[in-house]
Structure formats: structure tokens, C-alpha cells
Symmetry: C2
Subunit: 114 residues, 2 copies
């Protein structure tokens, strides 16, 4: 943390961001029927660390987010996109487009809309 | 880094993710006509650190990304959305929707499409 004091409101949003990332990763993992151990092994990250990331308790670096996305065989861009949709909902920001169901089903991915 | 060895290809994508975040932040800052000093001051982060984040040289935590978004008066969700659009382009993943120009202009924000 380089930042100094942050407001309670800001901290709640921060927590949400980490949680959103974790929940998107967990949703894809469960959709693929993979265990934490399998994903952690393929991504070369510690199982306990991945579990904390999924629960929104640990920050994830660009490197690890990429490794986990690769291990789940989900494009990193889709994960970030679904995180942005969730953050938008929590911010009360309405961004009209979401990932279209056709794209998700064609790619054999899990939809955030269903 | 908890991850072990990563391929050259993975490292290139990793670099891109950090760079995409930095470029989106810089684009919004310049659009608002703000200096690094102003944004860093409002976000309570060190100027040198923010400069490195904008150049994709430093990882940004959830906390700092939220602080910088607040300081730029841009919804965090829009920043993440624009990052996902850029990562999709670099991955060669075509996600049909982008942030609509009407939304961007109504919110007085900078468009990635223009």
C-alpha cells in the first residue's frame, strides 16, 4: 500500500473489486468442473493462495491472473470484462452492453447473465 | 510472484495487461487536463509510483486503482471495461460490444473508440 488513509466507502469498493475478481475466477473454475488443486497446479501457484484469491482475500498480480486464466482456458479479456460488469453493477453505473450470450455459448464459456 | 517459470509468450501478455491499465489511466488523465502531480495528490499515492503505473512498470492494487479512478472522477468499472477491450484486441478475441459512444459522451468521459 502506497496510499495513505482511505475512506470507509472507498475501502468497501476496494473489497468488492478483489471479491469480484475472485468470484469470476471461481465461477469459471466450477463451470469447468475443476478443483482448486487442478487450477493451482496448472497455473503454478500455491493452492492456498488461489483459494484466498477466489475468496477476495488476496490481491492478484497481472502475472497470476494471466496464469489462472490460461489454466482455466478462458481469455483474460473475458474475465476482466465480467469483473467490469460486476463492478459497474456495484457502482450503480449502467453500461448498456454485456458479453452477448451468443459469444459466450459459441466459446463454450460460462455466462454472467444466465 | 508466487508463480514459477512462465513462458515468453505469457510474459508478453502479462506486460500488456499492466501496460493496458497504465495507458487507460493516462488517457483519462490527459483528457481531464490533469498533471501526474494533481492525480497523485488527490489519490494520496506517490507521484513516481503513479508515473510507473502509467508506463506499465508497476502493478496496481485494487486500493490504488480505486483511488486513482476516484481522483480522475471516472467510474472504476469504465476503466476496467476499457482495459478488457484492449486486452481482447491484443488476444485477438473479438467481443462484439464496446462502451457505446453515447454513454461515454453523456458521462463526459474519454472514448477508446474515437
Amino acid at each position: 500500500m502506497t496510499a495513505g488513509s482511505t475512506s470507509v466507502e472507498a475501502q468497501e469498493v476496494e473489497l468488492l473489486l478483489r471479491q469480484q475478481i475472485g468470484e469470476v475466477l471461481r465461477t469459471h473454475r466450477l463451470h469447468k468442473g475443476m478443483t482448486l488443486r487442478q487450477v493451482a497446479g496448472r497455473a503454478s501457484v500455491a493452492l492456498g493462495y488461489l483459494s484466498e484469491v477466489e475468496r477476495g482475500q488476496k490481491e492478484v498480480s497481472s502475472e497470476i491472473l494471466q496464469s489462472v486464466a490460461d489454466s482455466l482456458e478462458v481469455p483474460l479479456s473475458l474475465i476482466i470484462r465480467q469483473v467490469s460488469d460486476r463492478v459497474a453493477a456495484s457502482e450503480g453505473v449502467y453500461i448498456p452492453d454485456t458479453v452477448p450470450d451468443e459469444f459466450v455459448s459459441e466459446a463454450g464459456l460460462v455466462s454472467e447473465n444466465s
